[in-house]
């Protein structure tokens, strides 16, 4: 007769590193001196003071997404290598760690979403705030109807020079930053009108109603996406900005960097 923990032995047998997701302080104390594997903490903030830490910019609800992001982060930080066997301990149903999984690092499946947050020109917190606004907008829509929106984050000076105003800029001479308390409502209202929001590296909302005029030559985005996505892809190819798009037709949030689609999220899952 085997006790239940023994049945799980082969899940964690021979792993090179253990990814622990959002551990409590007490749990981390137990786990940090584990033998035979490096411990990598993945969480929204390093509350436990871990040595190897990967920051989660969003509290991914989907565990699969969260683990994928954690692996990409650990890979970019050099904590794990291609081909490493990984054990993952993460909270699934409750707040404490209640599941383990095993996976392998595969560099070819690298999508660049960690890169999107960690190595973009804009501050990670700003990109996260914009994602949150886009996700909230996707969940609720504007007065119950789905809306589309395009946020261009970072490299604002160049973006402003590669775009023109469609109307008066409501954010002219204002000092509104994404993440400010009332800003979601504002962005929601202004998203009714067409055009892009331009947001600076530090999160200041520079303009709304911008018509982007990048050269779209050579921009390759998946077929079936509309003009908004094409504009988003093209502006990120022409500048060092990141574009976050909420699609009006399928309600997905997509992120573009360097002219390529790097992340696709369903707002309903958050």
């Amino acid at each position: 007769m085997a006790r239940p923990p023994e049945l799980l032995e082969d899940v964690l047998d021979g792993i090179d590193a253990l990814l622990v997701f959002s551990p409590s302080g007490a749990y981390y104390d137990r786990v940090k001196d584990v033998e035979g594997a490096d411990v990598v903490v993945v969480a929204t903030e390093n509350a436990v003071g871990a040595e190897t830490f990967v920051e989660l910019p969003l509290a991914f609800d989907d565990v699969k997404e969260r683990i994928r992001f954690g692996i990409e982060g650990a890979l970019s930080e050099g904590a794990v290598e291609d081909g490493d066997e990984l054990g993952c301990a993460a909270p699934l149903f409750g707040d404490g760690v209640d599941m383990v999984a095993r996976t392998k690092v595969d560099e070819s499946r690298h999508s660049g979403i960690y890169d999107l947050f960690a190595n973009s020109r804009a501050e990670p917190g700003v990109i996260r705030d914009v994602f949150e606004v886009a996700i909230e907008l996707g969940q609720k829509g504007q007065k119950g109807k789905p809306v589309g929106a395009l946020f261009v984050v970072g490299d604002a000076g160049k973006v402003m020079n590669k775009s023109r105003p469609l109307s008066y800029n409501p954010f002219e001479k204002s000092h509104v930053h994404v993440g400010d308390p009332i800003v979601n409502v504002m962005l929601k209202e202004f998203s009714r009108l067409d055009g892009a929001f331009v947001i600076s590296d530090s999160g200041k909302i520079v303009s709304a109603y911008r018509y982007l005029e990048p050269s779209a030559e050579g921009t390759d985005i998946p077929k079936g996406l509309g003009a908004r996505h094409m504009a988003a892809g093209a502006i990120t190819r022409d500048t060092t900005a990141v574009a976050i798009v909420l699609s009006e037709s399928d309600g997905l949030v997509r992120a573009f960097k360097g002219g390529e689609l790097v992340l696709e999220l369903d707002p309903e899952e958050y």
């Binding site: 604002a156 000076g157 160049k158 973006v159 402003m160 020079n161 590296d201 530090s202 200041k204």
Partner: protein
């Protein structure tokens, strides 16, 4: 303390009265202590002093700050009750040794309270500053919270000492010299930051140029990427210049329009 006891002449009655006063005082002291403890707990003082050195010290002797303060108030009342009882029973000699001591007692109590709050405030200030500096991972920074803590303690000790009438002129001179040095050094060291901030406030309020404009500040020309209180970020050909805002006023700014 001088109670007029002329109507009560019978010594036996005075003793009874004295004992009654003593017991009433003891009961009052106990009650005030308990009420004080409840009051302090209700005000959340126990949470506020969490982690300070006084709380740790109290914990070591098997008590807590709140109960220590409550105990202290009780004991002050006990002492007063005993003295009043002795007075009532007329067991005291004229010009007894404790008259000056008793007269001195309020100052001592205030001094102790000031010291007590000084220590707590010092600890709290230390915690606050070190929390603020946590993201600055420079080991030398750990000295700053300590300096803040001991500055607060020093001022508290000065106030306490002046309460009990100790000559503190020399210490006062030391404090003044310290504060003056702090002010002068801060003014000299942050002079450029201050002028930049003043210019930055103007730039943010009036916005003579904004993000996306092409400007030349001094010898640097480029597209404005960001304006904040201290610096303007100007980018040109992949080079991003961080120009302190006081340059805008010293050198002027050229808005380039093609």
């Amino acid at each position: 303390m001088q109670v007029d006891l002329s109507p009560v002449l019978d010594p036996d009655f005075r003793y009874v009265l004295g004992v009654a006063t003593l017991f009433a005082g003891l009961a009052l002291g106990y009650l005030v202590g308990r009420v004080n403890e409840r009051l302090l707990l209700a005000l959340g003082v126990d949470d506020a002093v969490e982690g300070t050195s006084i709380e740790r010290m109290a914990h070591d002797v098997g008590s807590s700050t709140v109960s220590l303060v409550a105990r202290l108030t009780s004991w002050i009342i006990y002492v007063f009750a005993v003295l009043v009882a002795l007075e009532v029973a007329q067991l005291t000699v004229q010009d007894a040794v404790w008259y000056p001591v008793v007269g001195f007692l309020p100052s001592v109590v205030i001094a102790v309270v000031v010291l007590f709050f000084g220590v707590i405030a010092g600890d709290k200030a230390e915690l606050f500053v070190s929390e603020r500096l946590r993201s600055v991972k420079v080991p030398e920074m750990s000295v700053v919270p300590k300096v803040v803590k001991y500055s607060v303690l020093f001022v508290a000790a000065l106030v306490a000492l002046s309460q009990v009438g100790v000559a503190i002129e020399a210490l006062l001179v030391l404090l003044l010299a310290y504060v003056a040095a702090l002010v002068v050094f801060t003014a000299v060291a942050t002079h450029q930051l201050l002028t930049s901030a003043a210019a930055g406030v103007y730039l943010l309020l009036r916005q003579p140029y904004g993000i996306g404009d092409r400007v030349a500040i001094g010898e640097h020309e480029g597209i404005v990427q960001e304006v904040n209180v201290f610096v303007t970020r100007v980018e040109d050909n992949g080079r991003e210049y961080l120009l302190p805002n006081h340059l805008v006023f010293e050198r002027g700014v050229v808005l380039v329009r093609e």
